[in-house]
Symmetry: C2
Subunit: 433 residues, 2 copies
């Protein structure tokens, strides 16, 4: 209940129905709504007896002591904690579950440990990663990327917001009071393991009648900002042959990419598209658009990108729907290669899922049929970055209609609670080994 | 000299070269820069002994008495004035001549009349029309449209700016102090004639080696705002077959329109294109774009629009590059049918052009070869609206490279001055008859 209801308290938006929870979310990273939910999280975690620290990317680390903390070690260092992590930021028109479910479930797990007075060997905690979505600052999973040493801190700090006044991540971290002192690095802040509960955001579990997915890894994806430059001109007086129409050229590129994507099994999407100067009777002299390409295979993605770069040059130079040539430039924003998850962590998730479903159904046979054992995430997650530096796995629960990044995103109360139970058991199983 | 240099004083922007005048303009209607240039105009006109009035659309009427004003008429009314009109607003990335040239030339004409102490029979004046470009408030020539009774005052007043905070024309007229009392109507404020000097904005005069064009009318055009609605979804987890991708669907529509336009001799342009929610990893659930279609023939344009409406419905319903259908709606923003100009006014322009060029070259034969006698404007102008209610014609001077709605728009000093002379003589010729 706690999990289901608190989700939508901060930054609710895009109401789509009359029910109490029939709302979407708009809680972009480092906005005031994000600050509020962060403050709430810190208060909750402290009330559960956790020590709370904030690092220089604004990631919040809430950690509960383990039994091992009481034994003096030779070098005075504590054992690395087993962490449950996810994110609190959302898409501008996002849903109630994406990210926050994993954080809430982590808090519930800590509450259960406290209420049942369970002692773990290692410290156990919850981490909230900053700007996972990449919706405000256009690099997704940027803060777990800094932690993993994949993205330099300076680059992350100087990232500018996609729309608005172009504020940087560092400015906004400071503004909302979440620019911490702690270094954001796997060396300074190691983890024994990272478990993440997340909604699937796709249609597979629902379509196959499964309740829990054991996530084995994630597909590769890259994000680019592509800029096409032509020349402004009057729409009423400029013959086709004398136009360098950046919009028509950009459209041809997108069309080609989408077509080739279908042929080669690459998912191609354009989510941002800006036209300059943006006047009805001026032919656009410049267009900037985002390109998001994904494939389970790194190799496919690399060769697809190479092909697009070649073809976009050709389209810009000999545009079918623009008499004069345009120019095109690429900027790479995100590069997230395919990533496999840890065998031991996946085993902990699988056994926990069977145990929870077995207890629920009273029938192990039935439980066996409710788990999807081999899932690959279509979306990126902070776990993709943590997997580079510590044992990691994820737990997926079904998304209604496969819908996500949409206000009507929905996962039932039962699925949320079941996922939280699997998360807690996975942590305990991992800790016990 | 006056004409050439004062053009770029208010709202200069988009500098493209080192020279004093190597700049473009950004003087959107009813912005602070527009207010400044208006204040300047009012001061100049008063200094030339004009009476200045502002109407409820912010059009500025500066009128110099004619001899007829001194003769008492039966009903106490003055004769309608012969006006020289154009506009002071520019595109967001516009040039130094579009619009303002016609206003400056009008002021110069009044100055010449004053300096030479010339008395005209009718009153003679200059009118500055508000928001001709339609770049800020998306109906071009909206204020001459209200004057002509083509557009209801309420509709014009409540027009919202294209980008920004959605302020209305009325709010902005009030804010800059140009919401006048005078009724904006051809009945309350009749004109004996309307002459407009304008740069061609196209390549014809330059290509044919002509110096002055006698404009016989303008082609038809229509503007629409088209909205495509699909459904947001996650770019990484949503298979093609389950997407209702508004951007891909909008692109197919634009591509079709552009292709058919080429086949049928209709100019098709898209200058505004907005994507919602505008996040890299969310498939756009909604796209809004402007459609500008033009043809010399009303009939062609009407049947072209009908064809597009049918085809866009088909594309939305069975999209090639979106698995699920989208919906599409049209809003008509501007409808400017083809308009012919007045024979008597065109004659005055033609004769004045020959007289000015004859005096310049000292050779009428040569002068005859420097005039283009039959021009049709590709762009809309306030004269298109005035032509519905009073005798009207236009004078075109060459645009370098046919370039307009671009910071590098250029018309030489000689061409500007020659145009101004033709404008003045046309007014005097018309008044004399
Ligand atoms: N889970 C999720 O939506 N992550 C954002 C990064 C991505 O687009 O895959
Ligand atoms: N002359 C001019 O640029 N007018 C604006 C209306 C149009 O787009 O034709």
């Amino acid at each position: 209940r706690n999990i289901h209801e608190t989700c939508s308290q901060f930054g609710a938006a895009h109401r789509w129905g009359p029910g109490e929870n029939d709302t979407g979310m708009n809680r972009l990273a480092l906005t005031d709504a994000d600050k509020q939910v962060r403050n709430w999280f810190v208060k909750e975690a402290r009330a559960l007896g956790c020590e709370v620290e904030v690092d220089e990317m604004g990631n919040i680390w809430a950690i509960r002591d383990g039994v091992s903390d009481r034994r003096p070690t030779k070098d005075g260092k504590r054992l690395p904690p087993v962490m449950m992590g996810s994110h609190l930021d959302t898409q501008p028109r996002g849903g109630r579950y994406d990210g926050v479910l994993g954080v809430m479930a982590g808090l519930e797990a800590l509450r259960a440990l406290k209420e049942q007075n369970v002692k773990t060997w290692r410290p156990v905690g919850v981490v909230c990663w900053t700007n996972e979505e990449g919706a405000r600052f256009p690099v997704s999973m940027v803060s777990s990327g800094v932690w993993a040493g994949e993205i330099p801190l300076e680059r992350a700090h100087s990232l500018k917001e996609v729309s608005g006044e172009g504020k940087t991540m560092k400015e906004e971290l400071e503004r909302i009071g979440y620019l911490g002192d702690k270094k954001c690095s796997f060396e300074e802040m190691p983890m024994a393991a990272h478990f993440e509960l997340h909604i699937e955001q796709g249609p597979i579990l629902e379509a196959k009648g499964k309740k829990v997915g054991v996530v084995r890894g994630s597909q590769a994806y890259k994000w680019f900002t592509i800029e096409v430059v032509g020349k402004e001109a009057h729409t009423g007086t400029t013959p086709y042959a004398q136009r360098a129409d950046a919009l028509m050229v950009a459209n041809s590129m997108i069309r080609y990419a989408r077509y080739k994507g279908e042929v080669q099994g690459v998912l191609v999407s354009v989510g941002v598209y800006q036209v300059f100067p943006g006047s009805v009777n001026t032919i656009p002299g410049r267009v900037k658009f985002s390109l998001d390409i994904r494939s389970p295979s790194d190799h496919t993605l690399v060769s697809f990108e190479r092909r697009l770069r070649r073809k976009f040059d050709v389209i810009a130079e000999r545009p079918g729907f623009s008499g004069l040539p345009c120019s095109v430039t690429w900027q790479e924003d995100t590069n997230s290669p395919a990533q496999g998850f840890d065998e031991r962590c996946c085993k902990a998730v699988k056994e926990s899922a069977l145990s929870v479903l077995g207890a629920e159904t009273g029938d192990l046979e039935q439980a066996l049929g409710l788990v999807k054992y081999q899932m690959v995430s279509g979306a990126g997650h902070d776990s993709v970055n943590t997997a580079k530096r510590c044992p990691t796995s994820m737990i997926f629960v079904p998304s209604k209609g496969g819908l996500s990044h949409h206000p009507e995103e929905f996962t039932s109360e039962e699925d949320c609670v079941r996922g939280a139970q699997v998360l807690l058991e996975s942590v305990l199983r991992f800790d016990r080994e």
